[in-house]
Each structure stands twice: as structure tokens, then as C-alpha cells.
């Protein structure tokens, strides 16, 4: 019986010209988004790989020079374009893509695409995620809004009920049929997208299949939530018109107004410092010590004493090692400590801002899927921070190697300009590599969004089950 109802709903939807048209448009949009998106992702990734390789070659072939000069010459890190960003571009247009790694300084990750565009960028890019998150629910609304109300208006609901069919069965049959219609649009696109994952994708992210599966599952749940919601509203609304307006109103609030309002509110609740304050704090802490009572000249003097004592000599000139190398490395490490402290405090402000809208996912499933999808696609804030960390750690490691070489090999008697190392040494520094976070990791940080989606699904299913027998038949 359940199958019969589902089949009837499915076929009615399939034969409806309005849905044929809107479904057709949606399908075309999704096709375009996936095909163009994948091509764009591939091209960008290729560009970045090429740029990374070119910069590596520059580093290796920089010629003979002092290791400290090389540390100033520096290296670059380019952020890989995550494979699944072709499904969900997320924050990618608003975060920088490359960072210059040099001695003494932690540079910013620069050059977001949004800065090179006019205001149109703000209107979003056509990606599968935009269609799944915003347009698909609208289609679901069109599919569900009159599923009960129309039968009631035409009197068939009473007839069906009179034949002894339980309302719960009818409800789930309808939900099943409409969901089948949604899957008819969703599954082919997902299969197509899956087939587009290629060699490059696998080498960029070993877990891409798992992430792809998780994203698919997430959207499947999201759609089901909307189908049940739509059917419920239709079941209890006074008329089809009221049902439609209620659902459209909910859609506007959930997908258009609330996301913006939430994010703006979060930035008000958890204000971040300005660039100037941030830099000033770092400068002051480096100068006066993290606790404010350990100024840099005192730190240097005590380091000097320590080193002199360790080597059992009285002056720097007598040291068997290069004092500048030691002092510079100590300076780096202290600065790094300050940077770490300040950066993580700003990051935690941003995380808190984002977490607010993750929590609001329990009220608005759109926000839940938005965060989850971005995270799994590798385009959320956490991924950006992970890349920034990886790049910074790489910087510290290679600058340390440069300083160490200077400390050990650049004997105090040799002039700065006379001590040089060459290609062999440069190639001994491994190239920059960055592993994308694992699926388990992503799901662990996104537990709120996962939970929100599941809560929505379970709650609506329970409500549907409990209230089905109360659906008005007249």
C-alpha cells in the first residue's frame, strides 16, 4: 500500500508540467554548475601547483649566498584548491591563496579573489551547493505544498480515509513518493559529479571518496527534512494557498534572511580586534615580554650569559659558534610564541562567531547543511586555519635550519659576505607539503551541524508519526 501511494505521488509529480519545467531548469543549472565548477577547480589547482613548483625551483636555484640571506629571500606556500570545492566553493573567494614565508615575520595569507572583483561577487557563485541548499528546498516546497491540502479541497482525502487507509501510511507514502522525485534529480547529478573525480583529485586528497559520500548523505538528509516539513505543513494548513505562503515564508527566512542576520549578529557579539591593535599587541609583547616584565634587551642579555657559560668563555668573540645565529633563532622563537598566542586568540573569536551560526543550525537546517557542506568540501574557516598553520610551521622549520647552519658553520672569524652555501643545501630543505584534514577530523569539529541535521530528521519523523492520525480529512 505504501508503495502504491508513493508511486502515485511520484507519477503525479512527474506528469505535472510546472514541475517538469522547474525540475528541468534545476537539472540544467546543476549540470552547468558541476561541469564548469570542476573545470575551474582543476584549472586553479593546476595553476597553484605550477606556481608552487616554479617557486621551489627559484629557491633551489637561488645561487650561493649566506643562509640568513636565503631566509630573507624566502619561500612561498600556495593553498591547494580542495577537490570538492567544485561542489561547494565555500569561503574560497574570501580567503587568501598564497603566503610569503620569510625570516623574522609571519606574513598574512593574501590575495582573495573577492578583492579582485566588483560587487557582483557578493551575489555568490553558481555551485552545486547553492542549488542544493537554496533552490532544491524551493522545488520541494512546490512538490509538497498541496500534497494533502489539494486532496482535502477536492474531497479525495476523505475517500481514501474511508477506505480504511491509516493516515500515517498515507503520510509516509506521500513523503516517500515526493522524496523519490527529489532523488530522481539529485542522484544523476551526484553520480556525474562522482565520475568527474580523477587522478588529480585522488593525489590531492586521499579521502576524497569518503568526504564525497558524507556530503551526499548530508544533502540526502537535508532534502528529506524539507520533504517531511512540507508534507506536514500541507497536512495541517487551512488551504493550499496558506500552505504555500507559509512554506515560502519559512524558506525566505531560513535561506535568505536568517543566515545573514546570524553572521552579522555574531560579529557584533564577539568583536575581533583591528589589524592595528593586533600588530601593536604583538609588537609590545615582543618588546616588553609576554608578561610585560621581560623586555627584549634583558632577554638577550640573559641568553648571552647562558651561551657564554655553556661554552666556558668570557666574551662573544671567543665563542666557537656564531652568536648572531643563536640570538636570531632565540628571537624567532620568542616572536613565534607571541604570534601563536595572538593568532589563536583571534582565531578563537572567529570560531566563536561561526559556532553561533552552527548552533542556530538546530533552528535552521539550512545553516547546519551549509557549515557541514563547506567543511567536507574543504572550504571552511577551519581548513583555512589548518593551511595557515601548516605554512607557518614550514616557515619556522626552514628558518631554523638556516639559523642553525649559521650558528654552527659560519665561524665568527668569517665576514658575513664571505660565508656562502649553495644548491645542495637549498635542496636539502624538503618542499612544502600540506595534508587536508581527515574526514573523521572534519566531522568531529562539525558535530553540531551533524547533530542538528539528525535532530531535525528524527524530530520531524516523530512529529509526522504522532500527528498523522490527526490530519484533518475535511
Amino acid at each position: 500500500m505504501l508503495n502504491l501511494i508513493a508511486k502515485k505521488e511520484f507519477l503525479t509529480a512527474l506528469r505535472d508540467i510546472r514541475l517538469q519545467v522547474s525540475g528541468g531548469i534545476l537539472l540544467i543549472l546543476m549540470l552547468t554548475a558541476v561541469l564548469v565548477g570542476k573545470q575551474g577547480q582543476q584549472q586553479l589547482q593546476q595553476e597553484r601547483e605550477d606556481a608552487q613548483a616554479a617557486m621551489r625551483a627559484q629557491w633551489v636555484n637561488q645561487g650561493e649566498k649566506h643562509p640568513h640571506s636565503a631566509a630573507h629571500y624566502g619561500q612561498f606556500a600556495f593553498k591547494p584548491k580542495p577537490v570538492l570545492s567544485f561542489l561547494d566553493v565555500g569561503l574560497d573567494n574570501y580567503t587568501g591563496v598564497s603566503v610569503f614565508l620569510e625570516a623574522h615575520k609571519q606574513n598574512e595569507i593574501l590575495f582573495s579573489r573577492a578583492q579582485d572583483s566588483n560587487g557582483m561577487t557578493r551575489f555568490g557563485e553558481m555551485t552545486a551547493a547553492l542549488i542544493f541548499q537554496v533552490l532544491m528546498p524551493l522545488l520541494i516546497i512546490f512538490l509538497t505544498f498541496n500534497t494533502f491540502s489539494q486532496e482535502r479541497e477536492e474531497g479525495t482525502l476523505k475517500l481514501i480515509h474511508g477506505q480504511g487507509l491509516s493516515m500515517a501510511k498515507l503520510f509516509w507514502g506521500k513523503v516517500g513518493g515526493i522524496y523519490g522525485m527529489v532523488l530522481l534529480l539529485f542522484v544523476p547529478i551526484i553520480i556525474l559529479a562522482y565520475l568527474m573525480l580523477n587522478q588529480q583529485s585522488a593525489s590531492l586528497d586521499t579521502e576524497v571518496t569518503t568526504k564525497f559520500g558524507a556530503i551526499t548523505l548530508g544533502y540526502a538528509i537535508y532534502f528529506l527534512v524539507f520533504v517531511i516539513l512540507g508534507a506536514l505543513v500541507s497536512a495541517f494548513a487551512r488551504s493550499s494557498g496558506v500552505a504555500l505562503l507559509t512554506l515560502l515564508g519559512l524558506w525566505v527566512i531560513a535561506c535568505i534572511i536568517l543566515p545573514k542576520a546570524t553572521t552579522n549578529l555574531a560579529s557584533k557579539l564577539y568583536p575581533a580586534p583591528s589589524q592595528f591593535e593586533f600588530r601593536e599587541t604583538i609588537r609590545n609583547k615582543v618588546k616588553n615580554g609576554i608578561d610585560g616584565h621581560n623586555p627584549s634587551d634583558v632577554r638577550l642579555a640573559s641568553l648571552k650569559e647562558e651561551v657564554l657559560e655553556e661554552h666556558g668563555v668570557a666574551t662573544i668573540e671567543e665563542l666557537p659558534v656564531n652568536w648572531s645565529g643563536i640570538a636570531m633563532q632565540a628571537g624567532e622563537e620568542y616572536t613565534d610564541q607571541v604570534y601563536d598566542q595572538e593568532f589563536s586568540s583571534v582565531e578563537s573569536i572567529f570560531h566563536r562567531q561561526n559556532r553561533l551560526s552552527e548552533w542556530i543550525g538546530f533552528l535552521n537546517p539550512y545553516l547546519a547543511i551549509r557549515h557541514l557542506s563547506m567543511a567536507l568540501a574543504g572550504t571552511d574557516f577551519t581548513h583555512h586555519v589548518t593551511f595557515a598553520r601548516a605554512a607557518e610551521n614550514y616557515r619556522r622549520d626552514f628558518v631554523k635550519v638556516m639559523n642553525k647552519d649559521m650558528e654552527v658553520n659560519h665561524k665568527p672569524t668569517i665576514e658575513y659576505s664571505d660565508y656562502k652555501v649553495g644548491q645542495e643545501f637549498w635542496s636539502s630543505i624538503p618542499p612544502f607539503q600540506y595534508e587536508l584534514p581527515s574526514t573523521a577530523n572534519i566531522l568531529a569539529t562539525q558535530w553540531r551541524s551533524v547533530a542538528a541535521l539528525l535532530v531535525w530528521l528524527v524530530a520531524l519523523a516523530l512529529i509526522g508519526n504522532q500527528l498523522a492520525y490527526r490530519i484533518p480529512k475535511l
Binding site: 640571506s69 557582483m120 555568490g124
Partner: protein, 437 residues
Amino acid sequence: MKLFTHILQYEWKSLWRSNILKALLLVVLGAGIYGIYFGKFEIEKQETRMAQVQQYERQQFDSLLYWSTLDTTYEANQEKYQQAVSPTGVGWSKHFTYYLTHDAPPLAGLCLGQRDLFPVYYGFNVTDLARQVNVGELANPMKLLTGNFDLSYVFVFLIPLLIIALFYNIYAREKEGGTLSLLQSQPVSLTTILISKGLLRMLIVLLTVTVLLLLGFLLQGISLAQQFGLFMSWLLIIYGYCLLWTLLMGLVISLKRSAALSAMLGLGVWLIFTLITPALLNMFVSAQAPPPNRAEMIHAVRTLNDQNWEKPKSFVFDRFYQENPDFPSADTADFNQWYYASFTLLDDEANALKQQFEDQVAQRNQLLKRWEWLAPAAMVHEKLSALSQTDRRSHQDFVTEMYVYHEGLKDIYYDKIFSSEMFAPSDLETLSVRLSE
């Protein structure tokens, strides 16, 4: 005419009695007022930050002025004195940092535009700009992506929704309510009646946007008298936009479909114009004209910097005098003269590339501009932000202003450096006056 006012009167009564209109107006006004306050809040935040850096700059410079008057017979004062009067500063990275702020134009709070994507102030010293301008404001990318809930957002996105909600059932309601045949039996044509109903709704919409814009000026403390031209331009653009949506809804109604289908169609058109066409345009332009790889600039600058240091000093001087033949010939043994000459080379190198990048970006934006009409919502938003001077172009103008300011600084500093002189009190005075400008 009498009949016409009659229809309007009764239509107004029935509209006003329905709670839907009140609810809609309440939501739109609420959103508008929130938007106005949000815009005000954001601009005030920027202004506080700008005031902060200006105050800091002033303080720092005042201590320099004070240091320049110190009695150098005391050894303790010597470093400070040197710091103040020496155009090269003392030691590494001890140059004075100047700040230039991008002050908020009067209407910025109504349309924040792209102002949040770019720094509203830059700090830089007299050395090369190339390595000092690559900074951003600390911002949560999530917020940048979501955009701002300001008044322009309410006009561009929500007002069309209000129009759809008011118009979709003009015809269908009569039909579904059974009053259509009554209307058709009247001496006036149905079209006249529908048009007058539409006109009334349009009046309501126009009144709402006018009130919102007036509230925007009022609550943000913008003087209407001084900015009357901008007020009128805004109003005209928004009226035009409302007219466009009314016409679109007129088209939808003329299909004479059911209320539900008309609402769907209206929303469909809204989606196409506010979401789908801009998103498609962005997608194609990204594929057609990808933004330039700006890392190249940093690379070029560091490579040149590396050469400056590794090669003999003549490498720098030769190129410097080719560009600046008027400078007194340098003392080739002087470190500072070589050092500062090298900065100009870096900037020259960077500027050539910068120009190239900007050309690329301009091409890309030209492409967007050519197809802009496909996305009227984006077009209107772009126009509003251009009027409010919060678009990308106004930031570019600010950057240009900074380059000019920096050139001016260099004129003063390099003169002293190349004649191996210290700043006289009058030089410091000139610099001090420039600050407060």
C-alpha cells in the same frame, strides 16, 4: 476619475484590514531599521579604528618633535634625538610609521559595499611601499561571504519580495473568492480595476522605500540638506527598481493563473534575477578571466631585493640615476644612500606589475559590466555602492592617494638623505602639518 478614487479608497480599506499587509510592512520596516543600525554600527567601528591609528600617529610624532628638542649633552638623550632628526631612523625598522585613512563617505553606512573587503587604513614608512601594502584587515571570511545586512540589502533583496507578496493575488484573489464575475459586470473594464489595484500597491511600496530612506538619513545622522543630490539619486534608482519589479509582476498577473502559481512564478523571477543570473555571471567570468596571480609581485620584489644585496652597489646606483637624474650624485660608500636608492627600484618593479594586474582586473570587471543588465539586482547594488563611494573603485582611489602621499614623503626624506643632512626643525614642522591634513 471619481470612480478611480473610489476604487483606490475601497481597495485601501480592504488591504489595511487584512493583517497580511500590516505584517509585511512591519517585517520590511523592521528589517530596514535593523539594516540602518547595522550599517551605522559597522561604519562607526571603522571610524573608531581610523581615529585610533590617527591618534597613535599623532602621539608618536609629537614625541619625535619633543625628542628633537632634547639637550644632547646628556648621553641618555642622544639616541632619541638621533631618532627624531635622522631621516633614515636609527637601526633596523625604526622609521616613523605614517598612517593614511580611507574616511567614510557620508552615505557609506547605508550601503557598505566592498568597504569591508579592504583595509580602511594603511600604515607605511618612507621605505618601499611594495612590501608594506600587502596587508588585510582581520576579518572572519564567513562574514565577508555572507555580506552585510544594510539598507541597500533590504532595498535590493527584500523590497522585491514585498512587491511579489503584494501583487501575486491581485487577479487570482478575485477569481478564487468568486468576486471576479461581479467585477466583470461593472461598467469599468477589468483591466482598469486591476491597474488601479496595482497602482495603490505601488504607491504603498514607493512610500515604504521613501520612508525607509528618510529613516536611514535620520537615524544615521546624515544631513538631508547637504546630501540632497545623493538622496534623490538613491531614490530614483530605487524607484526605477521598484517599477521594474512591478512590471514583472504585472506580466505574471496578466497570465491570469491561480494565486499559488502566480506566487511561485513571482518568486521564480526573483530567484532568477537576484540569485541565478549573478551566480552564473560570476561563474562564467571566473572561468573566462581568472583573477591575476598576485604572488608574482611579491616574488618579483624579493628577487630584485636579493639582487640589490648580492650584486655590487653600482647595480642599484646605475638604475637609480637613470630614473632620477636630478639627484645629487651619491657618495657610493654611503650605506644609507645605497639603501634608500634600492627601495625606489623595488617600488618601480612592483608598480609595473601592479599596473598589469589592475589592467587584468579591469578587463574582468569590464566583462561583468557588459552583462550586468542580466542581473538587475546586482546592477542596482553596484550603482548604490558607487553612489555611496563604497565600491572597489573608491578603494582604488584611496590606494592611489596613498601612493601620492608616499611620493611626497620621499621628496622630503630623500632630499636629506642624499645631501647627508639631518632634519631641521622646519622639516619636522612640514611633516607634522602633513599629518593633520
